[in-house]
Symmetry: none
Subunit: 213 residues, 4 copies
């Protein structure tokens, strides 16, 4: 009853964590309610004491992660740091979950972020991209970033690069140990900052369309 988590809240957490592991291992659709219950060490009926359906479990996982991510992203935006440093902050925010709880990121990335199925929460997804766009726009206004580039496109490119690294780790395509993450964080900011910088504008080769499709 005090500020400490009650036993009930803990059990809810136990089920949620079990679900994350199971979803991460087998995918949402292939995971049975019974699998989750077994992983949590409870009767399957108990899941329905805490959640109204298997779907709600997934949505809860998504919400918790996404809320935390957005909080971190908003803190970055509010920091008043220069754009490139904010960019790094965004990268860190997004990589953070992977380092602290890879399974959650695995589930969120695989089951939700890429799926219109669960979510007309596409709206949700847009939020981090929006933050990136605003940072980029501010960077443009302040002369840091090239002006010949649509902010939406820029934001999508940045978000995609970050997300694909996460996905690579999630799917085990590329090594995602502590050190790899730190390196990736450094390099992705390097590359994108350089590619987006105002001084890169004149580096571009002239636009042509002479390459066959």
């Amino acid at each position: 009853m005090s500020e400490r988590t009650t036993a009930a809240e803990e059990k809810r957490r136990v089920i949620l964590d079990a679900a994350v592991r199971v979803f991460a291992r087998k995918g949402f659709h292939a995971s049975r309610v019974g699998d989750i219950a077994e992983e949590a060490g409870v009767a399957h009926g108990l899941l329905y004491h805490y959640f109204s359906s298997k779907d709600e479990v997934l949505e809860t996982i998504f919400s918790e992660h996404w809320t935390a991510l957005l909080d971190r992203i908003h803190a970055v935006e509010a920091s008043g740091d220069p754009p490139v440093r904010q960019l790094r902050g965004i990268v860190r925010s997004m990589f953070h979950g992977w380092r602290s709880d890879p399974d959650v990121v695995r589930v969120v990335i695989r089951e939700i972020a890429r799926s219109a199925e669960i979510g007309q929460r596409v709206g949700e997804l847009v939020k981090p991209i929006g933050a990136i766009r605003r940072i980029f726009e501010r960077g443009q206004a302040e002369g840091h970033f090239r002006r010949d580039l649509d902010a939406d496109t820029a934001a999508v490119i940045v978000y995609g690069a970050i997300d694909e690294l996460l996905t690579g780790w999630v799917l085990g395509r590329i090594p995602g140990e502590e050190e790899d993450v730190a390196n990736a964080e450094h390099h992705i900011v390097e590359v994108l900052a350089a590619g987006l910088s105002a001084s890169a504008e004149q580096l571009g080769e002239p636009r042509h369309a002479d390459i066959p499709t």
Copy 2:
């Protein structure tokens, strides 16, 4: 038996195209065999005349698209063009499918590229990334691209940027008309080429870790 498609081949095509639309709309798992049949205007039993299972339908879609994509990518690699131009060629190859058949891209991106479930096929996915990596490595060797950057990471960043643009179009998050695609193609190459270029190496700010997570 010659180049003329038989009636049977056409009916198979009808089912396949219907499946693409249905998968694109609802996702593979949420799509029922009956949905596909309905979309195709045939009885659902007929699907089993042409395919051995629902899975095989998805695999067929994947193969057809992926094979064509890999062919184009290999042609790019074999062209002998300079790295940046090859990079552009890769981007074009990947965007091409979107322009010609967005639903197929939608399905391949959502259901396969992100799923470890379906794919021991992850191996497949690596192929475009592998091509990008090889191009980048050659560019490094020839002095075009910065050397302080792991080729795998670079390739993932490039692939991610491309893929996220596709995803943005697929999910309708960003406009994906003819002109938008052309612009995106131009800019993504600009940004990545600049960011990855050897001359960008010294632009990077010194590496620090003083930003709180």
Copy 3:
């Protein structure tokens, strides 16, 4: 495809008839979908080929019966017969189902007619009562029936008497063979016609309230 019932319609009928028997025997709530399927000699899944849920099966039984009943009742109303004869027609209409298909009446009476649960179709239930009311009102207007009596109350009394006889048969409280039904039909009309007749008006004892509750 012709006017003859198709095989599919027949199978639907088989399931519906099986459901009627099972519901009549065990009651709707105690009847399992598997019981119905077993009674019908089909797999339980087939039930869902023809009906969307167990509830829909019950509703179909109700509708079919009710529609037929209302048709008969409307024919009686439209007949132009004198009120007492119409009254007899209503009684016959309602008893008819019992004679021809007691199980259906059993189910309709037990599971639906008395339950607000299934039906805000209470509206439906009112329809036969409404017909009785209209007949009574016409009888009042023509001088056949007593005028000191609210038509609604009269209709409820008539309907209740009819319905309770049906219920008695349904629950086996009173014998409901062919002959019993014929007798009941005769007597219920006798009693109600006499009780409602204008000439009965003066028979009534003076109204007093001296009997303790």
Copy 4:
């Protein structure tokens, strides 16, 4: 332990009253133990402190009401009043519950009186009808009531009329305010007494079977 109800008895009462309201609203089968507990403002586990099962709750409601009703009916039978006045006494007894506690009546009527499922209790139900039958038989013997009428049928008709009025009030089909009940009481006795009276015997139209079914 004396006439003062203990706290425990009161809590038991609270649960029982809540159950009555819930059963009245949704029907016994569709009512969850949790619904009752919620309505009573207690934890659902507590219900099992006072009752051994959900069924026992229903049975308790039944017993309380039915016992009281039968007591009243027996008093009427034992009164020595003339048959028509006894008939009125029966009507009053049955209407009494409605005026004092409509929900209880609602539950008893819907869940028990009509259910062969719950009841070997059908035997119980027969009791008020039996009382009516005995009164009618006595009335026949004394020359008050027509002799061409089977006593069972007569009793069922009377009971049905009474019951349908109750049902009409219960389900809100007809107005059931104080005054309506008083009027209905008067009229139902009027109609039935007239319809059943010996003097009505010759009013009946000759029996024919010339109306098509």
